[in-house]
Symmetry: C2
Subunit: 511 residues, 2 copies
């Protein structure tokens, strides 16, 4: 297969702000920026770079600048010339040695603090749950094992949890998936056809926008800000103008900003989506990890009463007013709300148990499409999740205290040590979405990586690039690592603070 | 989202042979044939049928015939008229009640013998393996859990099994997937671009051709026959003419025919694929389930010496001549061979552990693409598979005797009781690919279903429809069910034997 071509237009989107924060010659700045994209895995090995002329036009620079930048990348071993295929991205052996993009950071050591995935340590109750689950293995082994629907006991436990949260749910509305990402990809395949508009938040969870794009979706973004939340006017305009097939949102503790959608925006979203025939997918992967305040009703319970705090001072476990709950499950595909959940953020990432809550008609379509991608959710993990899901509320109580401490430590230290940053204190989730004030996120990430702290740069969360002024900082790590994280960020900021010379200097150490 | 349109051309392909074996009026035969497609799940609920005029042209019948057929389907509740969307497929409540296409047969009872999936009962050693694996849970819980590469111990065990079979393999050539289907879909996403030709066998494993089609592949088929094997001339011509991006083959105990590719055809395939730059994917999901004869070397070991029996009379466990093994792993993407394997057919379908063996460069690309679909293989199942895979040879020994008995019972009884059928006795695998002599596979399947025996009709295995003259009959079931299977097939054959009146009569009973 010939190499995949990166178009000049896509390259220009990825290269937003490539000249910012540096007074180096343009060709040096451009080659540095491209190198960051390669190291980050955003332009993967084997991809063919745009023709020099095309990229020059897209970036508004001379062709010589691009030629010199490519030549410098070739000298550094990041690009090879392939006959008939132009300039093809190549990873130097030090980076490519392990076939694991998770470890592409170059610095592979036990001492690595990898914070690209925001995830908690395993919940303490898992060994017990495994022990209890194993009693059911002999019975499970009597079955054929291929299970695209989900274990009935697990589906009932998931339905009960929704009911507990104020959204009455029947197990027939639940299908178990191999984690939330698998749920997103399955929904994208079934709901999106080539050329359909798909509304996503900007920033958003990157593998979600990849899945919708791969399904042929044309992404349209709506801004979300850590402090001011959703841009309701943009949301309404975009919905009405593009009538998207799908709107993918994280209304509760949005990733990466930590924002929660207000009651009025929820109502707006649901009413306009119903008018435009848009299926709303509400991803609650982070949604249960609330630290402060009162949890909202799940979005499928309707807009009224669905916002954070709108249920008044009631305890988080009490079943509040249900709004229009119940009707959502029986609604047709137009204007319906599909919920995605996951056991993995609450309990452990190694479980790979997620789910979809939708009307049985849509589930039926998902089940017909599913075998093209996989033949079912592993049975043992479902048996374990069946033991764990009923204990969600208790586990979250312990998680909440841990996360509160982590958030307060990290946010407090960053505010003190890096006062020029804008460091929000989110009401929950696993991360804070830091405003750096300058478009240097990739440079900062590179500098931190050379000290063994690996973060995802802001641009990863932009469906169209951008967000070089932001950094997602998890607060999931144990106390000693929090200190290390903040120390490294402070030093890295100082290193890149003056001019871009510091950045370029650090590259040699990384590669 | 508006309903998906079934094009007149696709409908005509699905309706191959719709008039065969019946002297009913054309509109009745057509509505019966469409009804079978709906019940079978091949035309799913919610799909919009072609416009009457278009389908009439594609089938070479009058528009009135199509109109009357649609009208009959509406009367029977299989089609609803949706304003602005024409005739949309609908499943009567009796069929749609459970959101599980596996149970769409209509007859849902404990007494159902569902043979649409060819799979063995769980291997007896699994509870022990689970027990042993659980000792490693505490250590595993210290990790983050998201594992797109695979547990190192499991990858080493899989590599060892290839080496044991005569194909020296390093763990760095292995990535663990969530079953073989997940491996196929991942490879399709990475290797196939929209419009690329993809060579598949005809017949072939249906979810594979679905995955390649979903990735945008344009399928080209090469005939495989249970008795005469691959059409080598067609294979060469098709490869040279279409230069496919991928050739997806099951060279060892092909599903559904049970055929094994000869040494000369293997050599031909590999040499022509190298010339056309085609990546060969060899799916060995069934490949280890040999009953008679000597296993071939894995295809990646090269053509010479790779054919069934070509290794002479050596024991199945002995490491024979290795041919060009070793070079395949380091070959570039052009002309390279990718192997797919699975623990699920050997041990248990509920495990969902498969793998890909490929050059690290390709694995790297797969790992970059993987998070768009899922974030990793569940950890607990990998721990269990790590215990099981090293025991493959011992488990296969017991499986072999069981399968030999099953095959000989089912094949023998079918040959005696239905002498007009062509019933091959395959050298392994889980099924026999029966030639019925007449294009009545769907009718036979419907009749058998009304007695609680559920089979996949031959057309399911045709990448372009067809195969109505064939039926895949598993021999995986315990002895009592073998008797029942053959009894039901004999009675069903008699019921549809005279004319199509019997088939139509049976529909009421099913629905």
């Amino acid at each position: 297969m010939p190499p995949v071509l990166l178009s000049a237009r896509s390259a220009a989107l990825l290269l937003t702000d490539w000249r910012a924060g540096t007074d180096a010659p343009a060709y040096e700045a451009l080659s540095d920026a491209l190198r960051v994209l390669v190291i980050d895995g955003r332009v993967p090995q084997g991809v063919r770079l745009p023709a020099e002329r095309g990229l020059a036009t897209a970036l508004g620079v001379s062709r010589t600048t691009v030629a010199n930048a490519y030549s410098r990348l070739r000298d550094d071993g990041f690009v090879v010339s392939v006959r008939g295929s132009g300039s093809v991205v190549h990873l130097p052996r030090e980076l490519a040695g392990r076939p694991d993009p998770e470890r592409l950071g170059g610095v592979v050591s036990d001492d690595l603090l990898d914070l690209r995935k925001a995830a908690l340590h395993a919940a303490p109750g898992i060994p017990d749950a495994v022990e209890r689950a194993m009693r059911h293995v002999p019975a499970a082994l009597a079955g054929i094992g291929y299970d695209t629907v989900g274990d009935p006991g697990l589906r009932a436990a998931i339905a009960d949890r929704y009911t507990e949260r104020g959204l009455p749910t029947d197990p027939a509305q639940i299908v178990v998936t191999i984690g939330a990402q698998h749920a997103i990809a399955l929904l994208a395949r079934v709901l999106v056809r080539r050329g359909d508009a798909v509304l996503v938040e900007s920033p958003t969870y990157p593998h979600a926008h990849e899945a919708f794009r791969e399904a042929g979706g044309r992404l349209v973004g709506v801004p979300v800000d850590a402090r001011t939340g959703w841009d309701a006017a943009a949301l309404e305009t975009t919905l009405r103008r593009t009538a998207p097939a799908v709107a993918y949102v994280m209304p509760e503790l949005h990733n990466p900003t930590g924002a929660t959608m207000s009651a009025s925006t929820r109502e707006l979203l649901l009413s306009v989506a119903a008018a435009t025939g848009t299926t709303v997918i509400a991803d609650e992967t982070m949604g249960e990890l609330r630290i402060d305040g009162v949890p909202s009703l799940p979005l499928a319970a309707g807009g009224a009463g669905g916002a954070g705090g709108a249920r008044g001072a009631g305890g988080s476990g009490s079943a509040g007013p249900v709004g229009s709950a119940g009707s959502a499950g029986s609604a047709g595909s137009a204007g319906s709300v599909v919920m995605i959940g996951s056991a993995d953020k609450v309990f452990w990432g190694g479980l790979r148990i997620g789910w979809i809550r939708a009307a049985p008609e849509l589930l039926h379509r998902l089940l017909l499409a599913r075998p093209t991608g996989d033949l079912g959710t592993p049975v043992l993990d479902q048996l374990v999740a069946r033991e764990l899901v009923p204990r969600t509320a208790a586990v979250l109580e312990a998680r909440r205290e841990y996360l509160r401490q982590g958030r307060d430590d990290v946010v407090g230290a960053l505010r003190t040590r890096l006062p020029e940053w804008d460091v929000p204190s989110p009401a929950g989730g696993l991360t804070t979405w830091v405003g750096l004030g300058r478009p240097v996120s990739s440079a900062l990430v590179l500098a931190a990586r050379s000290e063994g702290v690996v973060l995802a740069s802001g641009g990863v969360f932009g469906p169209d690039g951008g967000f070089e002024r932001f950094l997602r900082v998890p607060f999931t790590m144990p106390p000693a690592d929090r200190v290390r994280l903040v120390d490294v960020l402070e030093r890295s900021w100082a290193r890149i603070g003056g001019d871009a010379a510091g950045v370029r200097g650090s590259l040699a150490a990384v590669v």
